[in-house]
């Protein structure tokens, strides 16, 4: 067990370094700008939190976006009513998402399997539909909740005169947009990863895994599993709330679409794509999907023509329309193909798949008598 914890420490350190160095290694990939970096970190938190529920217990929630949305709304309201400081917004976001998760979890966890999934989906869709229309006084509906000049901001106004423009979100004076915003999110992502790792290793985590492999047997031992499930559900809801409030902190707007089923589906896809139940998998899945959404959608014919300008003109005219099908307005197609290809060739998601691949290669090396090193696969 000692070695296990040491490995965890190493892994944690590597994870932290890789995350913090994102601006460096994403630069050649065209992903080095604050907004995308922030999104990587935030959706990473969302996916890691989702994985605590889905990966450990096997309960597939199809309504996690509701917690993301509530986190955002709570954070923006905290900006509007109290202060532009990020910390209270963060706390409100996590708190409200946790409270909602407690209610939804309490009801939904009465059922298992697909019945559970549909219950969570139904709750989230109700939240979304109401936020979009009837609850507009609280959520500002389709437009999304925004800051206004006339907001009370009671705490801020006690200390400083209101300026002419809208104030920006800050962490005790440090503006939360741009790179500082990313490092703030990254720090929380690393913390979130650490907590998730501790949960995976803890007796509580083991208990959840036991529930996953056979809930009945766990119950036969006289154990009431529901409190454990509910705890996992609420923790994972709080992660979503944290992600939601970070979305608002880096960009103070909360839109209802954040709660739509497609948003819930997105985090499910992120987690499965990266690898359910693996520690870093969900983070990788989240990064990939956000990368496609932001970078692939930005290619247009002009950009493509420049990219392929080294080819002869006739060929460019041939290549650009074909490639154009997969980027720009066709980025969904690429994403769909990615899902299919990954799931066919890397069963269990990217992390699991790469893992198997590495083992396979290593075993072949072993068979031909190659030197076996305890070196593990890179890149996690």
């Amino acid at each position: 067990m000692k070695i296990g914890t040491m490995n965890d420490l190493t892994r944690f350190l590597i994870f932290a370094v890789v995350i913090l160095a994102m601006p460096v290694w994403l630069d050649p990939l065209g992903g080095n700008y604050p907004d995308l970096l922030q999104k990587f970190a935030i959706y990473g938190i969302f996916a890691i939190g989702f994985n605590i529920l889905f990966g450990l217990t096997g309960y597939l929630s199809f309504g996690h976006a509701a917690f993301l949305g509530v986190g955002s709304y709570a954070a923006v309201w905290s900006f509007k009513l109290f202060t532009m400081n990020a910390i209270p917004a963060l706390m409100f976001g996590v708190l409200f998402a946790g409270a909602l998760a407690l209610i939804i979890g309490f009801l939904s966890l009465r059922r298992s399997g697909i019945y559970f999934s549909i219950l969570t989906l139904a709750f989230a869709q109700m939240s979304y539909n109401l936020a979009y229309s009837v609850l507009t006084p609280i959520t500002n509906g389709e437009t999304g909740l925004q800051l206004a000049q006339s907001d009370p901001r009671v705490i801020d106004n006690m200390f400083v005169e209101a300026s002419a423009g809208l104030p920006s979100t800050n962490l005790f004076g440090l503006t939360m947009s741009g790179y500082p915003g990313f490092y703030f999110c990254a720090a929380l992502l690393i913390l979130g990863f650490f907590i998730s790792m501790r949960i995976f290793r803890s007796p509580f985590g083991l208990m959840l895994k036991g529930i996953k492999s056979n809930q009945n047997r766990m119950m036969y031992t006289g154990l009431n599993t529901r409190p454990y499930m509910l705890t996992a559900f609420v923790i994972s809801g709080m992660y979503a709330g944290l992600a939601g409030s970070l979305l608002a902190i880096t960009d103070p707007l909360a839109g209802a679409e954040r709660m739509q089923w497609t948003a819930s589906g997105e985090v499910v896809l992120m987690t499965i794509l990266g690898g359910v139940g693996t520690l870093v998998g969900p983070m990788i899945g989240a990064g990939l999907i956000k990368y496609f959404e932001n970078i692939f959608s930005a290619f247009n014919d002009t950009v493509l023509a420049e990219m392929f300008s080294y080819l002869p003109d006739a060929l460019v005219e041939l290549v650009v329309p074909v490639v154009g099908l997969f980027v720009g307005s066709g980025w969904h197609l690429t994403l769909g193909l990615l899902f299919v290809v990954v799931v066919i060739f890397l069963p269990g998601g990217i992390v699991e798949g790469v893992d198997k691949l590495v083992k396979f290669i290593r075993n072949r090396e072993k068979n031909v008598g190659g030197k076996v090193t305890p070196q593990d696969q890179p890149g996690e």
């Binding site: 109700m126 589906g265 899902f339």
Partner: protein
Amino acid sequence: MDAVFLQILNGLDKGAAYALIALGLTLVFGTLGIVNFAHGALFMLGAFCAVTFNKMLLISTKILDPTVTLFKAYKEKPYLEIWFPDVGPVLVDYSVPLSILLAIPVMLLIGFILERGLIKHFYSRPHADQILVTFGLAIVIQELIKAVFGANPIPQGAPDILAGSAAVGSWIGLGENVVYPWWRLIYLSFSGIIIFGVFAFLQFTTYGMVVRAGMRDRETVGLLGINIQKRFTIVFSLATAVAGLAGVMYTPILPPDYHMGMDFLVLSFVVVVVGGMGSLGGAVLAGFLLGIVQSFASMTEVKAILPGIDQIIIYLVAVIILLVLPRGLMGRAGVMDD
């Protein structure tokens, strides 16, 4: 009274659509154990069979519009109408019902190809993998349709004699304001026939018997030496065809676009699960039930008391049913429970 009667009709009509889509989904769910997120896309493909058929009939010669000088604008005249002035326009008029003839073989073939080529490799894989692959498949299908037909809805008319409304009220002694579009009545009956047909197939044929047995206990049926694999292919093709037909017949009600499948996807999952996993009857019942409550919740009188209730009623009813009845309306123990 009139208003209530009309809302019942609306509910039945909606329910027919929900039930028809859910039928194929629950068949695949229950028999094959596949969580098929591409089912909505298959519904959409069916609708686009109608569009394609219509476009084929309307292959036209282009007559330049001389009044437009800044670019080339054409009025289209279908060859069919030029070559066969008598039959041509009639064929075009009936293109939606006629496209069923195209849709059945095409959808069966698509189902066959998908099952053999992709789905069958996922029977023993975890649900998570099934979700990812079928979701990816749905997106790919959607995007291909979008690339060919564009993103805007494409109107498909019902045949002229069915275009208006039937004076349902005067048939049964209600007010003359009680009218209902002929095509919706046709859709309702069509859906009844299909649902009945699928039930009869499962209930009264040996084939169906094996499928039903497979829904209960796949392993045992396999152990009995029955080639369950072959049946699975047929069940999947059947489900695809049912979804496709639902799509074809829906086009005059809802002009099809590439995204219509996704719009129905969530709803059809709710219907299937509220009906109960592994139960065809449950899915049909849930479809009609949700259709009717949705119609009634949309009435102004109801909305005056509970604003916005029509936005959430389906999900609210789903939650209540699932909390009261552990396995939905008619679900079986052991099917997708965990």
